[in-house]
Amino acid sequence: MSSDTTLDIATLPEYERPARWSGLELIDCDVQVSVPGLAALRPYLSRRWQDYLTESGVANLDPPHYPKSSPLSARPGASVDGPAGSSLPVLRAQLLDPWDTTYAVVNCGYNIPGIHNDDWAAAMAGAVNEWQRAQWLQEEPRLRGSIVVAAQNPELAAAEIDRIGGQDGFVQVLLPVRAEAPLGKRRYWPIYEAAQRNDLAIGIYPGGASGNPVTSVGWPSYYLEDYVGFSQAFQSTVLSLVSEGVFTQFPDLRVVLIESGFTWLGPLLWRFDKNWKGLRREIPWVDRLPSDIVSERVHITAQPLDGPADGEQFLQAFEQLDGDRMLLFATDYPHWQFDSGDDSLPSGLPADTERRILAANAHEAYRF
């Protein structure tokens, strides 16, 4: 891909587990896998939908959130034998082996949210899940899967969760952060009920095609704005999940924010707590500080690190949220978020904290 042509891969630092983590359990909570093309999904679609794809001339449903050639979309060298993230042997060679990964949670951001036909969306989601199971989870014991659903129809989504949620290997249900409505709204509750019923976490990833601009002030011009702006969609999602009472209604539900950044969370919760003190009569089912609820029930993957270059400031920012408990190690492979393995987490974290982030927190979130 184009980034390969402009950068000498040999000059990149080693992409591997830092030496200081030698022997530690390491769980990578955000690894992207990509559907290489529609042909890969055909075996898992009914005749009706196969015909539909053919007759309508549907092209592959690449997610719109990562322009194919953007430097963020793939580390130099990650696109071998097809789009980055589409080959298991490459994944093993570039990620699982050099990082000595214990488990990797794979996410597939296929553009299901962009489909307006609920039945078609549900069929495609089911096919992605079957493809994921057959091509990845059954082939590689270190991988764990994320159930893709058509969130635009929560009843169909819940049915898909019940259909495949009991199968080995799936640990969460993926929802796009830019869904058609704020994710706390009651219309989505059948999804949470099914996730809780199947002991699955809810993973919220930076995707979606709600038709609403990512900002509250209209469409921005640049991809840089779009990508940076995703953290705002995550902020409003946290507000929505708590305010609507999702965590009250589903006491066993765990939520993972994927690729969201995390330094915004502490300050958001200060503001939220303060407003809750003044306005809690509006949401009487939220019967304690929002920050307490979030720190018990929400986890966040660590990449991209949205912290300062200064190490001490980073630790101060880290202290502003319950990072010890909330953060999950992630590479976000094949996205190019950092160069050297040493940069995958902020430096200077206490060893015990690092261990929690590397694996213990993920066990709580995903119950492997």
Partner: protein, 352 residues
């Protein structure tokens, strides 16, 4: 009684426009238009504010005027009561947000004339922002040309919920005139120009609307920087009013981080995003950020790294008012305290 130990500058005071108060400043044509068709603006932001008029219970004047509508009562309760040396009025009304841009321009001008007559000329401690048509930069610039000479106007007032991100070119005519007259652009909480607050539509509750409004400010900061507004208008100053400030360091880090990877998309930027932010954005303090560990507030100021840009505000007469002597949960270093409560605003707005 003055509770505070020293005089302060309050960068966010709301006066309100009593019914019919703008009529004397409207032509017969627009007065008639108002009688026949009334205000028409974007819909969608119906969130009752937790208190009538979003006001403190004790801010209703005995005169029967609405909170913020009675200058004598404001003098007594706020200006004298809290020891305000200067106060910046942010007159929020329907003027700038009308779907009919010509009507919007007429209402904005009427609002400005009303501000001069009823507030600025009656009370020397007060300053104000020029009300403008928010979504038509040419009409807005024309109004600034008409009003900028009055010494009571110290900025141009917008609300944060625009129809497009404020860095986009459709707004640049306004920045031209702002730079020409050295008037900061003040961007206040609220407004409504059609976009839902979140990337996934309308939230259900006021607590989400109020807490999440910080997102709109974040988007504007991103847009101003990434569109290269400060490259084109290097002397432009922007004041973020009632949007919070603790979120800014995180946003600066995130922007810098991704700019490093994606800078080829925005070659018009000659510096890291955080550098533009430190140089061009001022922030008001209310609603005060209240970390569980008050020391974290000092960390925020340090991480932000622009102590000359933080300015105290009360948001009088609203329910989430911050009193000067109680607002900060932690004591500030003395020089910084003086700057926040007075020096920074005086320098920005040219007070004294």
């Amino acid at each position: 009684m003055v509770r505070s130990k020293r005089l302060v500058v309050d960068c966010d005071i709301h006066n309100s426009i009593p019914a019919g108060a703008l009529d004397p400043y409207l032509s017969q044509r627009w007065k008639r238009h108002g009688e026949l068709f009334g205000y028409r603006s974007h819909q969608g932001s119906l969130y009752p504010k937790g208190a009538p008029n979003a006001a403190r219970h004790d801010a209703w004047p005995p005169s029967g005027l609405p909170p913020g509508g009675d200058l004598d009562f404001m003098r007594q309760q706020l200006l004298d009561g809290e020891g305000i040396e200067y106060g910046i009025l942010n007159t929020l009304g329907a003027a700038g947000g009308q779907l009919n841009a010509e009507y919007s321009a007429a209402l904005s001008h009427a609002t400005n004339e009303w501000q001069i007559t009823e507030w600025l000329e009656k009370e020397p401690r007060l300053r104000a922002g020029i009300s403008v048509v928010q979504e038509d930069a040419e009409l807005a610039a024309a109004e600034v040309e008409r009003m900028h000479e009055h010494p009571g106007f110290v900025q141009i007032l917008l609300t944060v919920r625009t129809s497009e991100p404020l860095g986009r070119r459709k707004y640049w005519k306004l920045y031209e005139v702002a730079e020409k007259y050295n008037l900061p652009i003040g961007i206040h909480f609220g407004g409504m120009h059609g976009n839902p607050l979140t990337g996934s539509g309308w939230p259900s509750y006021y607590i989400e609307d109020h807490t999440g409004m910080a997102n709109a400010f974040q988007s504007q900061v991103i847009s101003y920087v990434v569109e290269g507004v400060f490259e084109r208008f290097p002397r432009l100053k922007v004041v973020l009013i009632e949007g919070g400030f603790a979120w800014l360091p995180s946003l600066m880090w995130r922007l810098d981080q991704h700019w490093k990877r994606l800078h080829e998309e925005v070659p018009h930027l000659t510096r890291a995003p955080s550098e533009y932010i430190r140089d061009h954005f001022w922030l008001t303090t209310q609603p005060m950020e209240e970390p569980h560990n008050p020391k974290h507030l000092l960390d925020v100021f340090e991480h932000h790294g622009a102590p000359d840009k933080i300015m105290f505000s009360t948001d009088y007469p609203h329910w989430d008012f911050d009193a000067p002597d109680r607002a900060f949960p932690v004591s500030l270093p003395p020089q910084f305290r003086d700057d926040v409560f007075s020096g920074n605003a005086k320098a920005l707005y040219g007070l004294d």
